[in-house]
């Protein structure tokens, strides 16, 4: 295997075969004059500039999601204790909003780092995240609740009327659903594993005695975020490819 073939194989892990071949072809063409060291240093530069966003975006999404889960729990418990809304329908509504909101926080951070703040789909996720977060923290103020509901209805209507925004909403919805589904599966499998290890209630001592349970939950949670971010990434590629084809037809 010669240098160019190895370089092409490496780049194929990050982009399409055709693009990888054209990049390596460019490097081979310039490398004739600049030498082998330049070729490999340039390849390292191409690889680094292509991949740095992905791991950073994933880590940020994980932390944002976990932070939001904790923050929303505190907010819901605190506001509930202070204002005592009727059990039904507020408890299921808060539960649903908290779960969707934390998933949206995770996906918004992922999109912002991976695709930049000007990305339409990321902006859409941030808009819904802002609305849900405001409702969770300030639902007991009727004016703010009313404004949030009106804004949500307006946003939903505007999204449904435009094809590109409809696709963006679809990406946000499917990714959030994937994360929530994977988290529910994590909770189910984790609880079965806990029961397998030790039936009955678990306290601090039980968790310390069975560290594999914490590890199992942690790994499955990371896997859940990986599934959701992979769904977002694939669907985003599909969206940008279709938009590119449209703009090529227009151009």
């Amino acid at each position: 295997m010669d240098n160019a073939s190895i370089a092409e194989w490496i780049l194929c892990r990050l982009t399409s075969k055709e693009r990888a071949a054209s990049m390596v072809g460019d490097l081979v063409e310039i490398g004739e004059r600049k030498g082998l060291l330049w070729f490999w240093l340039s390849l390292a530069g191409v690889v680094l500039s292509s991949v740095w966003r992905r791991p950073l975006a994933f880590v940020a999404a994980f932390y944002a999601g976990m932070w939001a889960v904790g923050g929303f729990q505190m907010a819901v418990v605190g506001v509930h204790a202070q204002h005592r809304p009727p059990e039904y329908p507020w408890v299921p509504i808060f539960l649903a909003l908290g779960m969707v909101g934390s998933a949206l926080w995770a996906m918004s951070f992922y999109a912002a780092i991976r695709y930049g703040l000007q990305d339409r789909t990321g902006q859409m996720a941030f808009a819904w995240t802002g609305l849900i977060t405001t409702v969770i923290y300030l639902w007991w103020q009727p004016v703010i609740l009313g404004v949030c509901i009106a804004a949500a209805l307006f946003l939903a209507s505007v999204c449904l009327l435009n094809g590109k925004r409809r696709k963006s909403v679809l990406i946000v919805a499917v990714s959030v659903a994937a994360l929530l589904g994977a988290e529910i599966l994590t909770a189910f499998i984790g609880s079965r594993y806990q029961h397998f290890l030790l039936s009955g209630p678990w306290g601090t001592r039980e968790w310390e005695e069975h560290p594999s349970a914490s590890w199992a939950y942690g790994c499955m949670l990371v896997l859940s975020f990986w599934v959701a971010t992979a769904v977002w990434s694939r669907m985003h590629n599909w969206l940008t490819r279709s938009q590119r084809l449209e703009s090529e037809v227009d151009g």
Binding site: A4, E8, T15, E18, R19, A21, S22, M23, V24, G25, D26, L27, V28, E29, I30, E32, S42, G45, V46, V47, L48, S49, S50, Y115, G116, Q118, F154, S157, V158, L161, N162, T240, Q243, R244, S247, E248, D250, G251
Partner: protein
């Protein structure tokens, strides 16, 4: 129906009012190089054109990331050309500006020109 019609009107106005995409400095440099090269703009020639005009050779990583990002934004489009023996039988990926890309570049250059208006920055006094 009345509400739906009004929402459609608002949506239409929002689409019409959409400004051209904003471009960074390096993005403008790359787009101008592509324009200068006309139908011969691919990785190697774009890099050489930028080096010849600005005296700075862009790193291949920065150039490909910028080109991919601009393609995702619909500012440029690319197609694969002929494969040559010099490149080990690998095809060239050519680039051209889309309508949206040209509009964004014109808008950015107009902004530069209006900022330069009234200044003698490019005159004899500054070499």
């Amino acid at each position: 129906m009345y509400i739906l019609d009004n929402l459609k009107k608002i949506n239409y106005i929002v689409v019409l009012m959409k400004p051209p995409a904003s471009l960074g400095e390096f993005e403008q440099v790359v787009l101008l190089a592509i324009l200068r090269l006309e139908k011969h703009a691919y990785g190697v020639t774009i890099r050489f054109e930028i080096a010849a005009c600005t005296g700075r050779e862009p790193a291949p990583g920065a150039l490909y990331t910028t080109l991919d990002r601009m393609e995702e934004k619909g500012i440029v489009h690319s197609w694969f050309g002929e494969a040559t023996a010099r490149r080990g039988g690998r095809a060239k990926r050519y680039f051209a500006l889309t309508k949206a890309g040209l509009a964004a570049l014109v808008s950015a250059q107009r902004a530069y020109r209006s900022l330069l208006d009234g200044l003698d920055l490019l005159g004899d006094a500054n070499g």
